[in-house]
């Protein structure tokens, strides 16, 4: 009996080869595919178009590490004892109001759906982050991959010339590297914590570009000869690894925002988060399926309102420019922007004018690909203590994201002999926020 992992590898290799063949016949390179979906749509059958669209789909996760307050973002309660000092403002979506701290995003609500009814129960940083990253409670016997790894595997290409999963987390508090779990190191994130340009990717100074290319060509000759009459996953994997290394070396410049025009950089603004959102746009534009940008640290036990005045200003501007930039480049229709942290914050305001950890009734947002914009799903009570309508779990959110990406959330990974669904058992996509 074949090894399930090898069978799966062959399935994916075959899928990628068929895509490559198709793309060759249409004279469209893989990068061009991402850049001009409209042209391909006009040429191809519905089935192929659907497949290509899925392949061109990307995700940007804006991770609000530490836990942003739902009251000061997506679910304001002005005038309630728990509501804090901020007002609610109308948005471009009829009847949807959000915090006055997000005025730019309010004007872009047509791209965004809000879920106001998350009840995820786990209110410690580590447990909450793990839950929201993987869509399930930690299982000691199962190292389940996080969303980035799942998307990298499902939407990445074996012969990709760019990384499949990039994670930017510059702050130290709450830093988590992410995990590809049972999917293996192939889908682990390229994790950038200190330098925004990956280290050790540059070509050695002692090797000239000509030498570098010649060596690669020579290796290709030998490799093709070796693999000619061998039908082996191991050989395919070896070949793929070399291609990826070459691609990753070439992708170094993607991380360098100095390659962007000054006016584009100015538009994203002076903050590090803004700069990292620009890097995220560059990466998805080049075909990276999953980019996580972590913005720490929202853990406002003291001075919640002033913390949110600072951090919401950063979120509001950076995310708004990102949505605009993606939209103007025709990328937003293929890019899902997911914005959330590990939990929300308490209705109760403490004596330090802070809010503490709270996971029983909080919010997140989804924008772009596969999302019905202008929707506020779910409802909390007038003081924000409980969910009163549309309760959603982390698994439901996971299923919703996968569904938006065109991935069957019930598809199972075989871990040994144990079938594990991509979204946890009982998960149900929130159809109201799906396009």
């Amino acid at each position: 009996m074949s090894d399930p992992a090898e069978v799966e590898h062959r399935r994916r290799a075959k899928r990628d080869l068929s895509r490559r063949g198709f793309l060759t016949t249409t004279a469209a390179g893989t990068t061009a595919m991402a850049a001009d979906m409209g042209q391909i749509n006009a040429l191809q059958s519905e089935a192929v178009t659907k497949q290509l669209k899925q392949q061109g789909t990307r995700v940007i996760l804006l991770w609000l590490a530490g836990g942003a307050s739902q009251f000061e973002t997506w679910d304001p309660k002005p005038g309630a004892k728990t509501g804090g000092p901020f007002q609610a403002i109308p948005t471009s979506a009829n009847g949807v109001h959000i915090s006055e701290l997000l005025p730019e995003l309010a004007q872009r609500m047509q791209h965004t759906a809000i879920i106001r009814s998350l009840n995820t129960k786990i209110a410690d940083h580590g447990g909450g982050a793990s839950l929201m990253e993987t869509g399930r409670v930690r299982d000691p016997g199962l190292d389940f991959p996080d969303l980035g790894a799942v998307v990298a595997r499902e939407l990445g290409r074996l012969n990709s010339s760019v990384p499949d999963y990039v994670s930017l987390y510059t702050s130290t508090e709450g830093r988590r590297k992410g995990t590809s779990g049972v999917l293996g190191a192939r889908y682990a994130p390229m994790f950038l914590s200190d330098n925004m340009i990956p280290l050790n990717l540059a070509q050695l100074e002692s090797v000239t570009t000509v030498d570098h290319k010649d060596r690669a060509a020579l290796r290709d000759v030998f490799a093709k000869k070796f693999s000619k009459n061998r039908n082996s996953a191991a050989v395919d994997s070896h070949m793929s690894a070399y291609q990826r290394v070459r691609g990753l070396m070439a992708s170094e410049q993607l991380f360098n925002v100095e390659n962007e025009p000054a006016e584009v950089r100015a538009r994203y603004g002076p903050t590090q988060f803004g700069e990292q959102c620009l890097i995220a746009r560059r990466l998805v534009e080049a075909g990276v399926p999953f980019v996580k940008v972590a913005r720490a640290w929202w853990d406002s036990h003291g001075q919640n309102f002033e913390t949110h005045q600072e951090l919401c200003a950063d979120l509001d501007h950076s995310m708004s420019v990102l949505l605009d930039d993606l939209s103007e480049r025709g990328l937003l229709e293929n890019t899902l922007v997911l914005t959330l942290g590990e939990f929300g914050r308490t209705p109760r305001i403490n004596a330090s004018l802070g809010r503490d950890h709270f996971a029983n009734a909080w919010s997140c947002s989804l924008s772009g690909h596969g999302i019905r914009g202008g929707v506020a799903y779910g409802k909390t009570d007038p003081e924000g203590n409980t969910v009163v309508d549309g309760e959603a779990s982390s698994a439901d959110l996971f299923a919703t994201v996968l569904q938006a990406l065109g991935i069957d959330h019930e598809h199972e990974y075989m871990v040994g002999s144990r079938p594990i669904p991509m979204a946890d058992f009982g998960a149900s996509p929130i159809s109201d926020v799906l396009a």
Partner: protein
């Protein structure tokens, strides 16, 4: 810091204050950020997180706060002063309201007095003018009776050096009404001629502002309180020292006292026993002592020697203290804060 006279250098002598004792505490309807005295010393008006203004007799056996009016602001009430029978309130909603202190009627209203949150008000000693500061980083001066705008002064950056919105927290008049001092989030103090707005001096207190560039990447702190000595020569600046974990108000409470006209720092105080922000400051009669109050999740009331900064007496408060009223003779302090008020004897 070579010019700083530390508390350890203070001359020994008979302490002007030896005791701070809370004699009564009572519940308030929310977080109370500001208090103004009434015509009777025991009568207090205060502004609350429920957007309303209340009055209460703090000497009553069971003090019961009553709303001054059915009218409200649209957000937290953060500044309140009284001039005769008029109360002037300021709010995070950016508005100023002039109220009849007894009837509760609105006499005047300026809806966009500031483009952002109003943080605090101050009344000139003669009761003629009100100064307001807000996060639009403007200082505005108003006629206390007619609500006419008299002046608007800039002088602060809208953004912090790290690219985030700044805040202008504190304002106070000198006791002769000649000077007006303001303090912002990043630790900058401006002292102006209160009549002309001319900048007489600027001071920097950078320790009051903590920017965390690595772990959490935002800031905390700022100048929260200012007080002139009765001869107007000294200016006390209150806030919080540098903070390790800016998730919490975990810094030591901090005061810096300046001979502001020379720019020389006379002394600084860091209290490691009671942490958090120094929300309000006032020199006692004859400047012999300086009282400070504030807190983190709890609160404190501390009295220091006015010349050297030596701790004379202090008491743990049952709440984070946001503001207080000190009686003319300095013997009684009425503090308001997070859901509670306290009456304090200073002896």
């Amino acid at each position: 810091m070579d010019e700083t006279e530390t508390p350890a250098d203070a001359p020994a002598g008979e302490a002007a204050v030896s005791s701070v004792k809370i004699t009564k505490s009572f519940a308030l309807p929310g977080a109370v950020f500001c208090v103004a005295g009434g015509k009777e010393p025991s009568q207090l008006y205060f502004g609350c997180s429920d957007f309303s203004i209340y009055r209460v007799d703090s000497d009553a056996e069971k003090p019961e706060p009553k709303p001054v009016s059915d009218g409200k602001h649209a957000s937290y009430v953060t500044g309140l002063v009284r001039s005769g029978d008029t109360l002037v309130s300021g709010s995070y909603d950016g508005s100023l309201i002039w109220w009849d202190a007894e009837a509760g009627d609105v006499r005047h209203r300026v809806d966009s007095a500031h483009e952002k949150w109003i943080r605090r008000l101050a009344i000139s000693p003669d009761g003629s003018t009100v100064a307001s500061v807000g996060d639009d980083m403007k200082t505005r001066v108003w006629n206390a009776r007619t609500a006419d705008s008299i002046a608007t002064w800039d002088g602060y950056q809208l953004m912090t050096p790290h690219g985030y919105p700044s805040m202008l927290y504190a304002v106070t008049f000198s006791r002769d009404g000649k000077w007006l001092a303001t303090g912002n989030r990043t630790g900058k103090v401006i002292i102006r001629d209160a009549a002309t707005g001319r900048v007489e001096a600027t001071l920097e207190t950078p320790v009051m502002y903590t920017w965390d560039p690595k772990a959490r990447r935002h800031s905390i702190g700022g100048i929260r309180s200012l007080a002139f000595s009765s001869d107007s020569k000294l200016l006390a600046v209150g806030g919080m020292g540098q903070v390790g974990n800016i998730d919490h108000l975990g810094g030591v409470s901090r005061i810096e006292v300046f001979d502001w006209q020379s720019g020389k720092q006379k002394f600084e105080i860091e209290d490691t026993k009671f942490k958090g922000l120094v929300e309000q400051l006032q020199f006692g009669p004859d400047d012999e002592w300086l009282v400070a109050a504030g807190g983190d999740n709890g609160g404190f009331i501390s009295v220091y020697d006015g010349a050297a900064g030596t701790l004379l007496a202090q008491e743990k408060a049952p709440m984070h203290v946001f503001d207080f009223q000190l009686s003319e003779d300095g013997s009684k302090l009425r503090a308001v804060g997070f859901e509670q008020a306290s009456v304090v004897d200073i002896a």
